[in-house]
């Protein structure tokens, strides 16, 4: 019973802590800081889910923003055009009710939206991944790059979601994209994606992922179904990117196709590489770092007249310096664990497959 109890405590504790933070933080934090916290959370989901594909399985996907776009537009279209049929209890425009009432008001809608967009992205991920993941090498990179661009172009030419104008809801009917995303949902998914990644990493299934990364031929010889493993990683990554898209769509006022270009995809690749390919902790840290850094530099450089214009130069410079100092990423392939802080008598031997 003890493990079960521990698990129940973990889940219950997480929900309570997140709920309390979700009610307290928007009132107490500076709005800009709170916005960075929210955008960081969404970036964490994107980076950690991409880490499943690029880090664990050693594939090179550069179309992750495409899955996010799919989820974002899918979810926003669902809540806007399904407003009358499904979500009539939500306000047509403007914020939800304050406090807990608003939480319960928005909860079913955001859950449905997240699930639907996650499944949509996962299904498309399966279709894209299955043919390209059978092959070895750079094919996936090219296919995902093409995929990301196709998604963007399709959105730009789809008038019901605003095309190039961006999508903020069905303006004629007065139904705007509801503001469903709260701190609770973003960080619940963050916890979920981290826990799923961690469990995978230290499970037999996950060892298969790592084996594919280290040596595909050897893995195949040892009986790992490499295609299946790669497709699972890819579909799982796409699912969470879709969910992140749903959260993004219901947080921002306006979705713009330009926000999901391939430059954005590269932002996520940068996060994973900077954090250390394969390191969950690294992905989380790098996602927060890269999201917050431009704003941190704005306020620190902005206090000196004339330095503000060098903000993005400094940003790029810091990235370069970091990659020179730590080419394997901030964390390499390591993770932050409990025994990093509390060193015990004897250290467990390093798992052979992950020895760097």
């Amino acid at each position: 019973m003890a493990p079960l109890l521990r698990r129940a405590l973990f889940i219950g504790g997480t929900v309570v802590v997140l709920l309390v933070l979700s009610l307290v933080l928007p009132q107490t934090l500076d709005p800009v800081v709170f916005r960075i916290v929210m955008l960081s959370g969404i970036a964490i989901i994107m980076a950690v889910s991409l880490n499943l594909i690029n880090g664990f399985t050693g594939q090179f996907s550069i179309g992750h923003a495409g899955f996010q776009a799919l989820g974002a537009y899918g979810a926003a279209a669902l809540t806007v055009y399904g407003h009358n049929a499904l979500f009539g209890y939500l306000p047509k425009a403007g914020p939800l009710q304050p406090g807990l009432a608003g939480f319960f008001q928005g909860a079913p809608a955001i859950l449905i939206a997240m699930l639907a967009s996650g499944l949509l992205a996962a299904a498309v991920g399966y279709l894209v991944g299955l043919p390209s993941l059978r092959l070895r090498g750079d094919y996936l990179a090219i296919v995902t790059l093409g995929f990301g661009e196709i998604i963007r172009v399709v959105i730009e030419n789809t008038d019901v979601v605003g095309g190039p104008r961006g999508f903020s809801g069905n303006v004629e009917a007065g139904v705007l994209t509801p503001r469903l995303t709260s701190f609770f949902w973003v960080y619940l998914v963050v916890v979920l994606v981290v826990v799923v990644s961690r469990n995978l990493r230290f499970s037999v299934q996950g060892l298969g992922f790592l084996a594919v990364r280290e040596d595909e031929i050897a893995a195949q010889a040892m009986g790992v179904d490499t295609t299946r493993t790669k497709v699972i990683a890819f579909v799982l990554g796409a699912f969470f990117a879709g969910v992140a898209g749903a959260l993004y769509a219901h947080y921002e006022f306006t979705l713009s196709p330009t926000s999901f270009g391939f430059v954005r995809s590269f932002d996520f690749v940068t996060m994973v590489v900077l954090g250390g390919l394969g390191s969950i902790t690294g992905s989380v840290l790098a996602a927060v770092l890269l999201t917050a850094l431009p704003e941190v530099l704005r306020s620190s450089l902005g206090s000196v007249q004339g330095l503000d214009q060098y903000r993005l130069v400094t940003y790029a410079l810091l990235l370069i310096i970091l990659m020179i100092v730590r080419p394997q990423g901030i964390f390499g392939r390591g993770e932050l664990r409990r025994d990093t802080f509390f060193r015990r008598g004897k250290r467990p031997p390093a798992t052979p497959l992950t020895g760097a």
Binding site: G163, F331, T340, A356
Partner: protein, 402 residues
């Protein structure tokens, strides 16, 4: 590799320390940002100072700062000096929202100026509307921007009006009957201009002989041009951005089409003529509508051009002129409101009548859009020569009300 304590000390701590230091500096600045109070009027400006469209932001900011200096030198407004806080949004929608979130959180912020790109104005406007801070966009011409709410204004005309201006100019001054349209289908701006041009030109008795499309970033337009050529148009209306227009003009000439091109304010760039093969080449004699011309002989424009040149050493672009007008109009409204109170300022902005701006007499209509004239320029060598001013008719007003 396992994470050791030594590694944490050497690798992660400096990074964390750096981030923390930055954040701390940020908090301090954020807290003291609005400390001016009392003797000054704080105006925010969110602009693309860097990134894809950095010229938009830097040019507009120059105009705004010139206006601010003039206003302050003349003693300010209501005995207070203006302070403009310019924040860069790196040409990104997300960052624009972040910047205005900061503005909205500052209790001393009286009004916000920005943006040029309509997509960023549209994304930022709901934040300021919710905070009830008046926002004046200097040159976002997309009709949707001011529909966000009653605190959102602009000092430029909206897209459709330029389509009307060019249709009227082509029909009445150039006496044209047959025009072909080449539109950038991905670009909302281009589609807006093309649609209205199409409607108005037909209404005035002309014929649209062909209507073909291309995409921003394309570099080969020969198939579209070959489609248009047999229809024998007297002109090509290409309301796109300058990047593609030069190439289109060159390729049209290569295919033996020697008719003039016509366009909108998206052409206004020093790089336009160079892209068409240089002065006197493919774009010689082309026409485009714009917000203002530095060659306009009126005293208002000439004084502005002279002071701008004295300060920055270059001629003001239309964006600079719009920024200048936005700032001056704001100051005018604050004077009329009698206080820098946001609500009073909003009401004063909404009732602006015939404000004498360098880009023409500006009247704010019921949709919070500016009713004002446009100019038509002709490309001669490296110069954009002033050809005509087209006044807004009642018809254009009803188009903007749509």
């Amino acid at each position: 590799m396992r994470v050791t304590r030594a590694f944490l000390l050497r690798g992660v701590l400096p990074v964390a320390a750096l981030a923390a230091a930055g954040a701390l500096a940020g908090c301090r600045q954020g807290g003291g940002g609005g400390g001016g109070g009392g003797n000054e009027i704080l105006v925010g400006h969110f602009a693309s100072m860097t990134g894809d469209t950095s010229t938009f932001g830097t040019e507009t900011d120059r105009g705004i700062r010139l206006a601010m200096e003039e206003l302050n030198a003349a003693g300010g407004v209501l005995g207070k000096q203006f302070r403009v806080q310019t924040q860069d949004d790196a040409s990104k929608v997300e960052e624009a929202v972040t910047v205005v979130t900061g503005f909205a959180n500052n209790p001393d912020m009286v009004a916000v100026l920005g943006e040029v790109a309509s997509s960023r104005s549209k994304a930022a406007a709901p934040v300021l509307q919710a905070a009830q801070i008046p926002m004046v966009s200097p040159s976002s011409t997309n009709p949707d921007v001011t529909k966000v709410g009653d605190y959102i204004f602009r000092v430029c005309f909206i897209d459709p009006f330029q389509g009307y201006v060019m249709a009227k100019f082509a029909r009445e001054q150039l006496k044209m009957d047959r025009v072909a349209i080449l539109r950038d289908q991905k670009n909302d701006y281009s589609v807006g201009l093309a649609n209205v041009f199409n409607d108005e030109f037909k209404k005035m008795g002309g014929t649209i002989v062909a209507d073909v499309s291309y995409k921003e970033g394309d570099s080969d337009f020969r198939s579209q041009l070959a489609q248009v050529k047999p229809q024998r148009p007297q002109a090509l209306y290409v309301p796109g951005y300058y990047g593609e227009v030069g190439t289109i003009a060159r390729q049209a000439r290569e295919l033996g089409m020697n008719v003039p091109l016509m366009g909108g304010d998206g052409w206004d760039s020093p790089q336009l003529v160079a892209g068409a093969g240089g002065p006197g080449k493919a774009l010689e004699g082309a026409y485009f509508s714009n917000h203002y011309s530095k060659d306009d002989k009126s005293e208002r424009v000439q004084t502005f051009v002279k002071t701008f040149r004295a300060k920055y050493g270059s001629d003001p672009s239309a964006l600079a002129a719009m920024g200048y007008d936005a700032m001056k109009l704001l100051a005018d409204a604050i004077t009329r409101a009698g206080s820098p109170d946001r609500k009073a300022l909003r009401d004063a902005l909404a009732t602006t009548q015939n404000f004498k701006g360098v880009t023409g007499d500006i009247t704010i209509d019921a949709q919070r859009n500016a009713t004002k004239p446009a100019v038509v320029l002709q490309i001669q060598g490296n110069q954009f020569v002033y050809r005509a001013t087209v006044q807004p008719p009642d018809a254009a007003k009803s188009a903007s009300a749509k």
